[in-house]
């Protein structure tokens, strides 16, 4: 038996597993020169054959951004980012305009094959459509660096009236929708990173579900940063018209590089009367090495507007990657009786830092929100939940329930909970519960005495801790998320 002075020694080994998605793809890239100025923005806009209004919109965002400074209120520490030392446009050279799957560079398909998660996406990206009735297929939009490279199942979706395409294409094909909704939830000047994104975003997914339509399959976008010294600035816009339903999944990985890469995405969701949007993310950007070298800076603005009565927006996220995560998927509950949900698992190991949470803004009457946040910290990482629940004066009968749990693995990591509650309506009810626990030595010993290895024991305990969130994920995604949790924590015990 081991007589280590630290009875929790088993818990420390789970973090030393190398990142499995850290390969790079050797592919000819079309890159803009480094730096950010109006000319670069004009170049991006020209490369994408954009209309004048969008270029103006970008330039306005750039002007706003120049007057802003990066937020410093988060519990995050990193050296200053030189925004002039990045490429703001990088695209696989062969890609000009929308691609059909057959036209995709085989190198790219091979890359998505290697990524392996989610498995069904890989199969579909490889062109294998599941047999009839086998299981509900998933439509995939794959974004490689700045450009969408493949969107699958478009014909099936079109039959249902659902539009699912790269946003650059939507700008050309559905300008009335894009113009109406782009920036309507996250305005250009919303925050530093959103302004930057609005100026330079290069691609992302666009979804429109018409009134009364239940989207016939899960929609999914797979994001991959490949090129060196590039930022990825994708923009996603999802509109669920009255009485419609859509479930959208998002996965992300990046190569293993010594320098930090910037990812500043914006996601806007709009739900009209009785519409529902379920948005699930499994974020596995490269987290950096054990000493904190490299990794993605993930500064993301995600916000949904429940504009219609009885509409519902549900965010589920499993965050295991990135050196730094700054992300608060939020809901603006404007429609009466609208519902916002936020289910989150954030895992940090080694030197990772995460400051994540949500904002629930109750505006309409009898609006309801639920927040379940599970933070897991290991190694020397820092994990902060930051959440705002704001009840506006007209939100009579509004309800919020917040459950925030932190699990510490080892004794050199940190967990912080920062809830902000502002209620301006006396009929509202807001509840907040928070717990912090450690994977206890007695729990590990109990499991091991029953025959489980240390790692299986940690996985079992962690999965139990996250169960309320994982059950919100679509089933196959939940299985992948469980595996990802296991891999992320591998070696943090021991």
């Amino acid at each position: 038996m081991s007589h280590a002075a630290d009875p929790l020694a088993p818990v420390h080994a789970v973090t030393q597993t190398p990142y499995k998605w850290g390969f790079t793809t050797d592919i000819e890239m079309d890159m803009a020169p480094k730096g950010l100025n109006p000319d670069i923005i004009r170049l991006i806009s020209a490369r994408k054959n954009e209309p004048e209004w969008l270029l103006d919109w970008r330039l306005k965002a750039f002007a706003l951004w120049q007057a802003m400074t990066a937020p410093e209120w988060a519990h995050l520490h990193h050296p200053p980012i030189d925004y002039q030392d990045l490429h703001y446009y990088a695209a696989p050279r062969k890609q000009a305009g929308p691609a059909r799957l057959e036209d995709v560079d085989p190198e790219l398909l091979a890359t998505y094959e290697k990524l392996g998660i989610p498995l069904k996406e890989r199969a579909i990206l490889a062109g294998v459509e599941p047999a009839e009735g086998e299981r509900a297929p998933v439509a995939v939009d794959a974004v490689f660096d700045s450009v969408s490279v493949a969107t699958t199942f478009r014909a099936t979706l079109a039959k249902a009236g659902v539009i699912f395409c790269p946003i650059s294409e939507a700008v050309r094909e559905h300008p009335e929708l894009v113009r109406k909704y782009l920036g309507s939830v996250v305005p250009q000047g919303d925050n530093f990173y959103a302004a930057l994104n609005s100026a330079v975003f290069t691609d992302g997914s666009f979804v429109y579900v018409p009134p009364g339509v239940r989207c016939p399959m899960e929609l999914s976008t797979y994001f991959r940063i490949n090129a060196r010294n590039t930022g990825q600035f994708e923009r996603t816009l999802i509109i669920a018209d009255a009485g419609s339903y859509v479930s959208y999944l998002e996965g992300c990985t990046a190569p293993q590089r010594d320098e930090n890469q910037l990812h500043a995405a914006v996601v806007e969701l709009i739900a009209l009367d009785d519409a529902q949007i379920k948005y699930s993310t499994v974020q596995n950007w490269y987290p950096g090495d054990a000493e904190g070298r490299g990794g993605i800076y993930n500064f993301v603005t995600k916000r949904g507007a429940c504009r219609g009565a009885r509409s519902k927006i549900s965010w589920t996220q499993v965050e295991t990657g990135s050196a730094i995560t700054w992300k608060y998927p939020s809901c603006i509950l404007a429609g009466d009786e609208s519902v916002g949900e936020f289910y989150s698992v954030a895992v940090t190991t080694n030197r990772q830092q995460a400051d994540t949470g949500t904002k629930m803004i109750h505006i309409g009457r009898n609006t309801r929100s639920t927040i379940v946040s599970k933070g897991i910290s290991a190694g020397r990482s820092d994990n902060t939940y930051r959440g705002l629940v704001r009840i506006m004066p007209k939100a009579a009968g509004a309800r919020n329930h917040t459950q925030c749990d932190s699990l510490l693995i080892g004794d050199r990591c940190g967990a912080h909970t920062v809830p902000y509650i502002e209620s301006r309506n006396p009929t509202a009810k807001v509840e907040h519960e928070a717990t912090t626990s450690k994977i206890a030595e007695d729990q590990l010993f109990y499991c091991r005495q029953r025959g489980l290895s240390e790692e299986d024991a940690v996985n079992l305990i962690v999965n139990g801790f996250c169960k309320e969130v994982l059950k919100e994920l679509p089933m196959e995604f939940a299985v992948e998320a469980q595996k990802l949790l296991a891999v992320s924590l591998e070696g943090s015990v021991g």
Binding site: M1, H3, F445, Y446, R450, G451, L452, N463, C466, K467
Partner: protein, 249 residues
């Protein structure tokens, strides 16, 4: 099956076991009795391999293998089971899921085929019924919100499903009412066989009315001060530990 020689152990640098000699042959049930603080729980944790229970001397072998060199899960795979005095709660972990994971880990280690969820539930329901446990206890989270008696019965259920070759019961009778005590004892007796052994650690004689041991040992001050047949338990019940401990000293 279990051979302990001159075993000494310390917790936080403080010596607790001062030289234990004990042999439990295959097919026998031995009881260890002793006053509070005599080292009973320490002995069970040392045998199961808990961190922080430092062996300072002596040996313990299990089927001739050096037990003390094995990781806790390897001891479990070899067939050692510890019924905890204070069973641990695992929030969010379903009892059935936990038990199946444990059983399959043991089966894997022994080169046996794993059981799927259906096969496992069938087995678990039979055993739960035998212990008068409602099915829903399998669905609840491991020991979370269980009463003291339910926790102890859950330990016996785990033992029934994992079928150890050597079961160590650490004060499994404490906190049980007389009906629960009988159910737990029946569970233990059902596992008695010529191939398996048990070490029953208890503070009171009453459990030994239901689980009749082959041998009784008295542990006091970190040593076994007296050993005898089942009748020794009754001597203790009448004269108290003081008589026996004083005799030995």
């Amino acid at each position: 099956m279990l051979e302990i020689r001159g075993l000494t152990a310390a917790v936080d640098g403080k010596p607790i076991l001062h030289g234990i000699d004990l042999a439990v042959p295959t097919g026998e049930v031995h009881a260890i009795m002793g006053p509070n603080g005599s080292g009973k729980s320490t002995l069970s944790y040392v045998l199961a391999g808990r961190d922080g229970y430092e062996v300072t001397g002596g040996s313990a072998t299990f089927d001739g293998e050096d037990l003390l060199a094995m990781a806790p899960e390897a001891r479990a795979a070899a067939g050692l089971f510890l019924a905890f005095q204070y069973p641990v709660e695992l929030p969010g972990v379903g009892n059935a899921n936990f038990l199946r994971t444990a059983l399959n880990a043991l089966r894997r280690a022994r080169g046996e085929a794993e059981l799927d969820a259906v096969q496992f539930l069938k087995l678990a329901r039979v055993e739960a019924k035998r212990l008068s446990m409602p099915d829903d206890m399998l669905k609840r989270n491991v020991n979370v919100g269980f009463s003291g008696g339910e926790k102890k019965r859950n330990e016996v259920l785990q033992m029934a499903i994992l079928r150890p070759r050597l079961a160590i019961l650490d004060e499994t009778d404490s906190g049980l009412d007389i009906d629960a005590l009988r159910i737990v004892a029946d569970g233990v007796n059902a596992l008695r066989s010529p191939q398996s052994s048990a070490l029953v650690i208890t503070h009171y004689q009453r459990l030994l009315d239901h689980i009749v041991p082959d041998r009784v040992h008295v542990l006091a001050g970190g040593r076994i001060v007296r050993s005898g047949g089942p009748e020794l338990a009754r001597v203790l019940e009448e004269g108290g530990y003081a008589s026996v401990v004083a005799d030995a000293a």
